[in-house]
Each structure stands twice: as structure tokens, then as C-alpha cells.
Subunit: 461 residues, 2 copies
């Protein structure tokens, strides 16, 4: 038996499988103290733990079963998957735009092995062409894997590396950039890239999927097609998130990188533009702008990459009865910047005031955002707000807490002079602060403007 | 000149006013380095700072002007407000239900002095009757002021006191309870009251206003009428938030106390039921239930008041690149419970693992919620989730982070045995965890069920 027979399993999980001679790809019934699970034993990734056996249930869901609970494994058969996608050379058409896909992690596209239900990740142009042949109608595609991390593990190093790769590829003539990314922190990365990559001549489109390709309801292929279409054909030279639209599974939405947030842990239509409407809708044929205030694609513009970042920043999400030690610890641990997500118009309780005064005395940059997510900080309305401004806390308009967090790290990377930092923070770079929020930008983008009605009506005939 | 002439002003603010002989209620033009403000000098509250002069602008907005920036105050006249509402005895009708209104802070109702634009808070039954005479058509009203704090300063002491007052008033025969509360943390208080006050025989309705009564668009009177109507007439014996509905200014929504959150810093329709639909709609004539799974009003049930609360709990709102010191500080500072608001299905980055292990070893209760707000924690899907469960972190279903925070304090008040705490946390008391989230409970309640259509169509004829 080769290593492939227990591919990816280690320690306790490996012993358990060996104990029952249950190889990867076996079709099994696993009995545990709490019930029975029927499915196929899947291989594990390199980063997997050593305490669980993962099986694909008949429902298509994967589930991890704790080894210590396994009482018996009955083997019904074996359905091996071929862990390779037949590569077909991605066609080159000199008339089509060149798009570069940079991978950071997360499954962008994959092929389903129907015999086993296993998901086979696709990433090389040839593999992607094999999985989603429509891509070749849109562009000439090149790919490069920068990282392979779950998005909760993305941080300043990966942000810098991604920004630099974008700059390099634009210099090399890419006419559009797509960035594959796990969905958890896609909006944090889209925000920091909006600051680290400025003046881009071409679209920069982040994409991911909420449901893996082995489920009939997967959004992976559609999101990929929409993002590549946007990178290749759109005239929107902004950092954007391209994900599933809210009202059908036919179109995607393009969200400004600084005004977007993940709003549902499992739905496909999880990314929503906050306090604005999306920049555009996209389907496989067409990109339909919903606004006209975006930066247009231009050949004569040079991208500016600025990756300076001071990571001694934190978000403090206020809750009632919060105590001063939360702030004191940040001060004592050397933080240089704090973004508070306050209640209401930007409030915290009085017991925090002495610690906030100490932060002010230590020269820590403290900014106020709202945890309501929608709406503006307004610190002139109530005494609490005025008190906090006296403590040097700067209202950050309608910047989302996550966006203020990455921008503050970036601003402190540019300068440690608090006045300069403030100037950077309060000068919008990519609509992270806007003058007003449209009423149809609250909670859900429901349409109500002619472009959307036209767009949707095409599918209702 | 009496103290009333500079009512509420102290220190620097008082000196500035005296310097220009600008009394409260003066109609003034204030010149500052950055511009000119025209309006009426308003009195300050007892808790006001001593660095700002507050004036009511012609627009109806109040603004605070920093004394140190004041260059000149020109006085155009004086428009004194009478700081008293003519009391009219609230009529008693033995056929009407008795409702008790408990005040914690925030302006519940008020009368506008039209000459000055000043807001005169109303609270006694007689004052309320003078301001909102419609209340007498609904019930016999009694009032009691428990606290007078901005809602960001509410905490365990006020929660306990409010719960005890509710218990007492129900024992005394109140057929419905209304609680006036500032809007910032109304949802935190409604959540903790859902745990501290159980088995109520009558409705418990929290209410506030987003816009003060001196603005034509105020929601104060309407919210008050709706909440009193609900307390007096509804058969819904739950802890609820009664605030402005989303689609018109005619009706209010009744939100379950554990499934509601403030979602806009300034809009009137800011409170939204999350991951569920509201319990009911209410207007001045009628209460229209949207669900039927609520606890019904019953005369033969005894309320249970349980106010034990351990306040050594905190929310950790995860962000990329979070460092272990955030968790370590909580451990070192003696916290007993931590609610993480993770990304996606409930994730944090690997650098936190050692600190989370330490928390586990110290016997700290750690629960996972999702910062997407909508959707469930699911920690079996990815390796990250399984790793975190191995570190003893308990997934909290679809409990909102704020709700898990107050429930964890309450659970630790009941027991310090982590197994017992877990049993309490994962056993729903007031729908804080539900089996499923209806699709029309995502982001906005848009109707789509016959009751709502019927309800709304009444106004479209």
C-alpha cells in the first residue's frame, strides 16, 4: 500500500483508517457513538489535522468525523478519483485581451469527479480551460499561484505580495487582473488593495466561491466567468469584488473594493455593497454599469504600488460594559492605531475615557466607525460624541470598520505624524468615505433604477 | 442673572457665554475660525461637557461649537422656552388595560416649543397625555423613571434593575410593560432581558426614537403609540423591540428581543430582525402577527426573574492579522468568557491558536459566532473550524455576537461549570438559536407573505 492509499492522513486519523483497512476513496459506513455516516473517505490536504476522517456524504456535503468516536468502519467498495484534470492547451487569440489570474487560496474552479463526488481543483490555464471552456471565448488567460492559504490567514505579507504581483503584471501588459481568494476576508483584501494599488489602468477583480464545485448549486464557475469577463472587457479600472448577485443565479455584481462586506456565512449572495450601490452588474454577455463615477480604463496611466503598512493596528468592537483594560492592553502592547466600532453614531461608555485619554497622550491614532455598518459617524450630536472628540478620537465618516482598520495600517505605514495620518485617513482614495449614501444602498440593493429593471426584465420574457 | 440664564453650562463654556453676555435661548450668530453658525443657544443637560456651546440651527439640527474656536457672538434676540409641559391628568378607564412605562434614558416623547425649537422631554403620565393624547385611548398609563443614562452607558447594574422592576410591576398587575431606552444598545438590553425575565405572562416592549421630536420626521410619538398599543392589546408575551418599519412611516415592527440589531446609525428604520422575520407589524389600530410561534399572553403564568450575571466576558471581533496578545490580555485580566465574532463560518487565524489553547487550559468559556451577522457557525466544514473545536471553542449556532455576549455573562452567572454553561448556552430560551433562517429573513424583511401584502395594501387604496 502506497502513501496515496491514505493520502493526507497522519497520526491518530491514519491509525484509525489503517486499523479498519479503510483506504481513501472507500465507500464506507462509519459507526460512531452518536450515529452512522455513509459516504466516501476523501483524501486530506497537507494542512489537515490528524484527528478527523473526512467523508463525502451522499448529500454532497463533506463532514469530519472525530477518530476517537469511531466504533466501526464497514467498507462497501471503492471509487477512486483521478487527481488530475486532462489539460487542454488554452487557445491563444491575438485579438483577445490578456488576463492574468493570480491565486491566493480558495477554490476558484474545479472539476467534479462524478464517480466519487471528489472535487479536483483546477488552476493552470489548461486545467481551467478543461473545467470552464467558456473562458477561452473571453480572453487569453495566464495564471500564477501566489499563495495557498485559507483567507482567514491572509495578512500584510500576502497583501504586499499580491499588490506587487498586480503591479508587475500590469507592467507586463495584462489588460485585466483577476485574483482568486477565499471568501472569508476577501473584503479586507479588496480594501487594502484599493490603497496599495492606485491609479490602475485596468480592472482588478477579486473572486471566490461560496459553494464548492461538487454541489449543484456551486457559484464557482459562474463567478469565475463573470470576473474574467470583467477583467477582459469592462472599462472599470477599480479594485472590485465580483460575486453572485442577490436576485437570481444568472448575474454577478461588481462591488467597489472599499464598500463591500460578507453578510451571510453560507449563502452564495453573501457579498453586499454597503452604503452605496454596486458599480455594475455582469453576466456572460454584458457588463451593465449602475454608476458612472468609477475610474475608466486608460492605456496611458501608470499604476502606483505603495505597500508600506504598519501592522500595529486593531479593531475594538464596542459592547456595553466594556472595561478600560481592553484599551489599556492595546496601549501597553505597543499598538499605534485603534479603530473603534462604536454603537449608534459612534459612542462608547464613560469607563473607557481614562484609557482613551492615555492612548491620546501616547500618540496612538484612534478612529471612530459605526458598528451599525450603514450610516455615518456623527460625533457632534450628543455629549458622548463631543467628549470622545475631546479625547482625540477622529470620526471616520462612513468608512466601514474593516476598511478603516486596513487603511489605518496603511496610513501609519506612510507616516507616523498623526496630523499627516489624519489627512490620509480622511481623504478618500477609492470611495471609502462618500458624501452621501443612496437610500437604495441600505441593507439590500433592490434595484429601482432603470438600468436594473432593464437588466432583470431580459430574463423575465 | 440666575443660574437658569446659563442653564447647564460650566467651566470654559460658561465663561465664553458670560464673556459675550449670551444667555441660554438667545438667538445668535456665532463666528468661529472656520465659519458662522446661526441659531438659538440651548441649555445643556447635567452631564454635558464644559467645552462646547450647543445651538439649534435653523435647519432643526443641534450642533456643538467648541468654545476655543469662538471669535464672536452676536445676539439678535431671545426666545425663551417654558421648560414645563402643561399636565393634564391621564384619564382612568377601568375597562382599559394597565400599562407601566419604565424609563431608562433616551427621549421617549417630548413636546416641541415652536417659538424656540426646543425639545421639552415628557415623561409623567400627565405630560405624556399632554404630548400624545392618543395614549389615553389605549390604556391606563403609569410611569416610573429607573435611570437617565445614554444607552451606551447601560450595563449589568441597569439590566438587573430593569429586570427586577419588570418583575415587580407584573406582580403588581401591569398588563403590559413598556421600556423607554436609548437606541444605541437597545438590542443588547432586549437580549439580556430575554434571559433575565422569563415566562412573562404579558408583553414587554422596548421603545426609543432615532430622531428627536423637534424634527418633522420624528419617530418618537409613533413608536411610543405602537409600543403602548402592543403592551396593552397584543397577545405576544415576549421581550420585544418596537421600532419604525422599513417601508413606510405608518407602521412599526415588533422584533424578538434576541434577534434584532441596530443596522443604521441615523435612519429611523434602523432596527432589523436578523435571520428571522419580525414577530408582528403594528399600527395605531391593529397588531398583525407575522409568525405564530411566539409565547401567548396568559393570566395564569408567573414571571421568573433571574438576574445573576458574571460580567467578566468580552467580544473579540476577529480581523485579519489579529495577534495573540488580544486573547492573552483577556486571559491575564481574569475574563471568564469570550465570544469570538469570526469570519465566514466561524474562523480565526492560526497565530491565535496558542492563546486559545491557553484560554482552554485556564477554563475560560469560548464561543464562536459569525461577524457576517446572517447565517450559522459551521465548524465541521473546514480544517480551521475543526482545529478551533479541538481548542474547546463552542459553535453558537446563529446566535448574534451581541446576544451570545450577554447570554454568556448570564450563563456564567448561573454556573461556573463549563459543561453546565454550555448546556445553558446551546439551549434556546427566546429564539436566540433557531433551527433555520427563512430566506426572507436575509438582510431585509421584504414581505412576500399574504399577511404583509394585505397589511400594506390597506394603505395603497
Amino acid at each position: 500500500m502506497t502513501d496515496e492509499s491514505y493520502k493526507g492522513y497522519r497520526g491518530q486519523a491514519l491509525s484509525t483508517l489503517k486499523n479498519f483497512e479503510a483506504l481513501v476513496w472507500s465507500d464506507v459506513e462509519i459507526k460512531t457513538a452518536t450515529g452512522q455516516h455513509i459516504g466516501i473517505i476523501l483524501p486530506r490536504s497537507e494542512n489537515g489535522d490528524d484527528k478527523h476522517i473526512v467523508i463525502k456524504l451522499r448529500s454532497g456535503y463533506n463532514v469530519g468525523i472525530a477518530c476517537e468516536k469511531v466504533e466501526d468502519i464497514h467498507i462497501n467498495g471503492r471509487k477512486e478519483a483521478h487527481y488530475q484534470i486532462p489539460e487542454k492547451a488554452f487557445p491563444f487569440d491575438p485579438k483577445k485581451p490578456n488576463v492574468k489570474l493570480l491565486g491566493t487560496g480558495g477554490t476558484i474552479a474545479s472539476r467534479l469527479d462524478y464517480r466519487t463526488g471528489a472535487v479536483i481543483p483546477a488552476f493552470s490555464p489548461g486545467e481551467l480551460y478543461g473545467s470552464v471552456p467558456e473562458l477561452a471565448d473571453i480572453c487569453n488567460l495566464q495564471t500564477e499561484k501566489l499563495y495557498g492559504v485559507f483567507s482567514e490567514n491572509m495578512g500584510p505579507d500576502q497583501w504586499r505580495g499580491t499588490a506587487e504581483a498586480i503591479g508587475r503584471e500590469i507592467q507586463n501588459g495584462a489588460q485585466g487582473i483577476v485574483i482568486g481568494h477565499g471568501t472569508d476576508t476577501m473584503h479586507h483584501t479588496s480594501a487594502i488593495l484599493s490603497f496599495m494599488v492606485q491609479n490602475s489602468p485596468v480592472p482588478i477583480v477579486m473572486v471566490g466561491s461560496q459553494r464548492s464545485s461538487d454541489r449543484p448549486s456551486s457559484d464557482a464557475a459562474l463567478n469565475l466567468m463573470h470576473s474574467v469577463k470583467t477583467a477582459a472587457d469592462s472599462d472599470i479600472a477599480e479594485v472590485m469584488v465580483c460575486m453572485f448577485g442577490p436576485t437570481s443565479d444568472i448575474y454577478g455584481l461588481l462591488h467597489q473594493g472599499t464598500r463591500v462586506r460578507k453578510m451571510h456565512s453560507s449563502y452564495r449572495s453573501t457579498f453586499r455593497t454597503i452604503g452605496e450601490i454596486p458599480i455594475a452588474m455582469v453576466d456572460r454577455q454584458k457588463i451593465t454599469p449602475l454608476r458612472n463615477d468609477y475610474r475608466k480604463r486608460r492605456d496611458d496611466r501608470n499604476v502606483i504600488i505603495n505597500t508600506a503598512f504598519d501592522d500595529r493596528v486593531a479593531i475594538v468592537y464596542y459592547y456595553p460594559n466594556m472595561k478600560a483594560d481592553i484599551i489599556d492592553s492595546l496601549i501597553d502592547n505597543g499598538y499605534k492605531g485603534i479603530v473603534i466600532a462604536g454603537t449608534g453614531l459612534g459612542h462608547v461608555n464613560k469607563p473607557l475615557y481614562p484609557a482613551l485619554k492615555r492612548a491620546q497622550d501616547k500618540g496612538i491614532a484612534v478612529y471612530m466607525t459605526v458598528q451599525t455598518l450603514w450610516g455615518y459617524v456623527q460625533m457632534y450630536v450628543y455629549d458622548t460624541g463631543r467628549d470622545l472628540m475631546d479625547l482625540g478620537i477622529v470620526p471616520a465618516g462612513n468608512m466601514l470598520p474593516e476598511v478603516a482598520y486596513v487603511k489605518l495600517g496603511w496610513a501609519l505605514g506612510q507616516s507616523q505624524d498623526l496630523e499627516k495620518v489624519k489627512e490620509i485617513m480622511l481623504t478618500p482614495i477609492a470611495n471609502e468615505i462618500t458624501d452621501r449614501e443612496p437610500s437604495n444602498g441600505y441593507l439590500i440593493f433592490q434595484g429601482g433604477i432603470p438600468e436594473v429593471e432593464d437588466f432583470i426584465s431580459r430574463y423575465q420574457k
